[in-house]
Subunit: 204 residues, 2 copies
């Protein structure tokens, strides 16, 4: 589809778009600005992408591939005793830093999904399901061993917990306004995560 030079230009446009998204509101990102920043012209941009949204989708796709590393933080993990607490802490930590590294694109994906755009929903689902799936499995296993409330739906609980983490991660700046110290955030998220999965208070 495109040669070596073309690929480079295309990639540069994507990189510059990502920078623009980080520094200015999504609504105000213009093709002409992205092109200028990449040292090229709007016409070139349109050669590779149908519009800003199209290019954003590419960025999101890239990001969703990298998100597979998040799955590892939730698959085949211990959820009992101190090991369980460590699992919770690592999961919170991993998710928070992934969100910090990709905050610009993630908030646009969130918006797109909330607006009902299937393409964005799909990507958001892929990222979140990477964690929600294994987490639901863990809850299911605890249930079958009688170690978790049998009345809950593993999928709904896992999904809600991951939503919580993602939402707090996406609004980290605003979080202080609750009156909570910044350092309080991680341990308390881990607490809620552990509590939600196991139904018991963590033994730290």
């Amino acid at each position: 589809m495109a040669g070596r030079r073309g690929q480079a230009t295309r990639q540069k446009l994507l990189t510059c778009l990502d920078e623009m998204l980080s520094s200015s509101p999504y609504r105000d990102v213009r093709v002409i600005d992205v092109a200028r920043r990449a040292g090229t012209s709007p016409a070139t941009f349109y050669q590779y992408f149908p519009d800003v949204e199209g290019a954003v989708l590419e960025l999101a796709e890239e990001m969703s591939k990298e998100s597979s590393s998040l799955s590892e933080l939730a698959t085949d993990r211990q959820w009992t005793g101190k090991a369980g607490w460590q699992t919770a802490e690592e999961l919170v930590d991993g998710l928070l830093s992934f969100w910090r590294e990709n905050d610009a694109i993630l908030r646009v994906v969130d918006l797109g999904a909330a607006e009902g755009d299937k393409r964005f929903s799909k990507i958001r689902t892929k990222v979140l399901n990477g964690i929600t799936g294994p987490l639901a499995d863990s809850i299911g296993k605890l249930q079958s061993k009688g170690k978790a409330d049998p009345d809950i739906s593993p999928a709904a609980v896992a999904g809600s917990l991951v939503s919580m983490l993602a939402s707090v991660a996406g609004q980290q700046k605003a979080a202080q306004s609750w009156g909570a110290k910044k350092s309080d955030l991680k341990p308390n998220l881990a607490y809620l995560l552990y509590l939600g999965v196991t139904g018991r208070k963590p033994s730290r």
Copy 2:
């Protein structure tokens, strides 16, 4: 500042803007479309608002006033036994329907806040703190009675729980993709809320 007729036009523009936000992506909402829908001209729009964002802020401000009704769902509530379970259910119910009624403006507020715009952060904080505040108080009281984990931060836990509810509420369409039934959502959110506040499984 403005007479009777002016107020009416202004309000009509806001209403039409709200409708536009519900039916098309925020990024694509144009002044000219809002004006046309209101049966007036772009010039009139600019007489009342500096730009689309400015008008959206007005809408958000209105919404944040209505959100005070949410506070009542969390102030002076019982959190023990069956009464506690009812409190949780009512809070989840109230929040979910408030979000359903105001989803368009709420997602724009979320975006603005995530992008670091103080004006939107302030509004988001006002809406969420209406619940987070009283909820944190309840947790604090439980703590002082020895009925909740003394090591947690009431503010951080309350904030995270409310974030969870808000986030799930904002992505209700996407929620099915977890593999959870729609009817599972509410009871499981109430379960997590009760669990987070009290540290114990609910007695339904």
